[in-house]
């Protein structure tokens, strides 16, 4: 078996006595989309935030590309080419699209000053590819619609040559047309060899986009299955009952 891009081994984290993530192991191969499913509070977002550096695990190991990784902050995660699109989008509302896209990684001129014009023109280029309707480059992102804000968050993740992409509910705030654009983008990135963790509540969308799905309940992993081996009903019963019907059989 090839080396997984990401290998999370026996990850646990507790918040004040509650085991939010309990001994979970999942992995991700290059060019693969792995979906994380479960109720609200099942621990999906918490698990993913450990990988993106927002939370620090209590125990377990993270292996990236066959090497043990230490991820203690979002800065560390970025060093491993892990990019995250958060459910909350994590945008600074008072700044424009370009400032948000390059936040933490500003392009600078020879004198060490931020190169505003260069960043704006790069933003224009990538936005033209991701969301051709995007025009409000100079305005603070608080003035943008939900879909446009989402495109800024997505642009930020894909611009910097991510190898591992984490998408937490990327289509929750989007219309039909924009949801389709995100789906196309996921397929395109997958073809480029990125590994993608996808979190969503939409089971059908997950079966369409993912190669494998992992279901969590109450912080524990219920099971991981290839999408072609399970039906939507199997997945729903894993989410609701917390039991893997295939193991029961």
């Amino acid at each position: 078996m090839a080396t997984p891009l990401v290998d999370l081994k026996d990850i646990s984290i507790s918040f004040g006595g509650v085991r939010a993530v309990d001994n979970v192991s999942i992995n991700l191969m290059p060019g693969e989309v792995v979906g994380l499913l479960g109720h609200n509070g099942a621990g999906k977002s918490t698990l993913i935030k450990i990988l993106s550096g927002a939370y620090q695990k209590d125990s377990g190991e993270i292996w990236i590309d066959g090497e043990k990784a230490e991820i203690n902050s979002p800065r560390d995660a970025r060093r491993y080419n892990i990019e995250t699109i958060y459910q909350t989008l994590a945008l600074a509302d008072n700044l424009d699209a370009a400032s948000n896209l390059f936040l933490g990684r500003e392009l600078t001129t020879a004198f060490g000053f931020v190169d505003e014009a260069k960043m704006e023109s790069e933003t224009k280029k990538i936005m033209a590819r991701l969301n051709p309707n995007f025009k409000k480059l100079g305005e603070p992102v608080s003035a943008l619609s939900g879909g446009q804000r989402q495109s800024v968050a997505i642009a930020r993740a894909v611009y910097f040559n991510a190898k591992i992409l984490i998408m937490d509910e990327p289509t929750a705030a989007l219309g039909v047309h924009e949801t389709q654009m995100v789906a196309d983008l996921i397929k395109e990135l997958k073809a480029q060899g990125l590994g993608i963790f996808l979190i969503s509540h939409d089971t059908r969308e997950m079966l369409d986009l993912c190669d494998r799905v992992s279901v969590m309940k109450n912080g524990a992993l219920v099971g991981t299955e290839r999408v072609e081996d399970v039906t939507e009903d199997d997945i729903l019963s894993m989410i609701i009952l917390g039991k893997n019907p295939k193991e029961a059989a």
Binding site: S52, A54, S73, P74, R75, R78, T84, Y86, T88, L89, A90, L91, A92, D93, N94, L95, S99, N100, L103, G104, R105, E106, T108, G112, F113, V114, E116, A117, K118, E120, S121, P140, S142, A143
Partner: protein, 430 residues
């Protein structure tokens, strides 16, 4: 050069929009002009004399310098109540360094040319260190800035007291006192040179920004709008210099200056003060702080953290260290303000900078800094300081009772914030 850039026809815009002048800034400048004109009428023309304008600018400098730092503090959603007290401690340190420590402990004779510079360096280091310490408590220990600096307000004022045993320290070094205002001015010729250089630099900046936009295919203002903006800047700068250059040094003072050199004052000799060094210092700080705000990563992170601290942290910004940096910068600016304030008074006294923290916060807030964070400008804060000082000195000239003066200033502060809130709501911004 304008034709090639008009490939995308811009929607028809009003002349004001074409100039791309910040309407909020325009409102503040308008309010300032109204204040000046009203006081000028009430004082029978004494308010807008070169002499009073000169005094007004040198009185504003100390608060304005700290207000530029307060912008960064408030933008990152903190507050600094300790800046007036920190000014007193820095002032005490610098006064003691130049009059006691260096002459007595190190052995440098009074009047040695290195004394003022060593004193300023020591004061600024102390200010930055104390600021960094407060920032560390806010950022790393997560004590609210309000509490840390409320404690600092009590602590630093009285640390300053112990450093001097409560004594007034003076007179200060003559070179040091040149930073105070009237004791250090550039004279007519140099003031014009600085003014012209400033205009040239501003116009160069305008057009290099335009070139840069064109190079990246961004829409630019019509050429006439650029020229009008350049004209406004040139008129404002050179007009300001002309006013300062027309404030003539009184005969009596000139006579003393000549007598000190062993000469007699010729009957037809006149000289003007020109640009005070303290005002030049404020302008340099304003430019430096604006560059930090707009052109550096530090500035970006300050505004991003103010807009959404979580997003900044998730984007890899070390927001704790950022807090330390912002407070350290504020501490250094307090020390510079201490130089100006003590030099203006020609001595250090215990009550120096008392209540300055409130004036500084008021200046920043009147200048459009939002206490909810993420929004604020350096030039706005300086204009805010100027408006506050104009109100205060104007009322003093008119002979308004001291209690009523404070009532008016307090009312203006609250009304200014209310107007700002209404303005932002109507714009649809937050």
């Amino acid at each position: 050069m304008s034709d090639a850039t008009q490939s995308t026809p811009a929607p028809k815009r009003s002349a004001l929009q074409a100039l791309e002048i910040d309407t909020r800034l325009l409102g503040m400048v308008g309010a300032f002009i109204v204040v000046c004109l009203v006081f000028n009428v009430l004082t029978d023309g004494r308010f807008l004399t070169p002499r009073n304008i000169f005094n007004l600018t040198i009185q504003t400098v100390s608060v304005a310098i700290m207000a530029t730092g307060m912008v960064f503090i408030i933008v990152t959603r903190h507050i600094d109540l300790a800046c007036g007290a920190l000014l007193a401690t820095c002032s005490a340190i610098m006064a003691m360094t130049q009059t006691a420590y260096l002459p007595q402990l190190v052995g440098l004779p009074l009047g040695h040319p290195a004394i003022p510079w060593i004193a300023i360096a020591v004061g600024m280091s102390a200010g930055a260190l104390i600021g960094a310490f407060q920032g560390w408590m806010v950022g790393y220990l997560a004590i609210p800035a309000f509490i840390v600096t409320l404690g600092g307000l009590l602590i630093w004022r009285n640390v300053g007291w112990y450093l001097t045993n409560g004594q007034t320290i003076g007179p200060l070094d003559p070179t040091f006192m040149q930073f105070g205002g009237i004791n250090g001015t550039l004279g007519t010729t140099w003031s014009w040179i600085i003014g012209i250089l400033a205009v040239v630099a501003a116009i160069w900046a305008l057009f290099s920004a335009r070139r840069n936009k064109i190079a990246h295919d961004f829409p630019v203002k019509p050429m006439w709008a650029e020229l009008v903006n350049a004209g406004i800047i040139a008129t404002a700068v050179l007009g300001f210099i002309a006013i300062l250059n027309s404030y003539e040094i009184p005969r009596g003072r000139l006579r003393r200056l000549f007598e000190a050199r062993g000469e007699t004052l010729p009957d037809d000799f006149t000289a003007a003060y020109g640009l005070p060094i303290s005002v030049l210092l404020l302008i340099a700080i304003a430019i430096g702080m604006t560059v930090i705000a707009k052109k550096t990563r530090l500035g970006r992170y300050i505004f991003a953290t103010g807009g959404n601290p979580d997003a900044a942290e998730l984007s890899g910004v070390n927001t704790r260290l950022l807090t330390v940096k912002v407070f350290a910068l504020m501490g250094a600016l307090c020390a510079i303000s201490a130089v100006v304030a003590s030099a203006r008074l020609t001595n250090h006294s215990n009550d120096i900078g008392t209540l300055d923290e409130l004036r500084v916060i008021a200046a920043a807030v009147i200048g459009g800094t939002a206490l909810s964070g993420g929004i604020g400008t350096i030039h706005g804060a300086i204009l805010g300081a100027l408006i506050m000082q104009s109100l205060q000195s104007g009322m003093a000239m008119v002979g308004v009772d001291a209690p009523l003066q404070n009532i008016v200033v307090g009312t203006v502060l609250v009304v200014a914030v209310l107007v700002d809130i209404i303005y932002r709501k109507r714009l649809g911004a937050k």
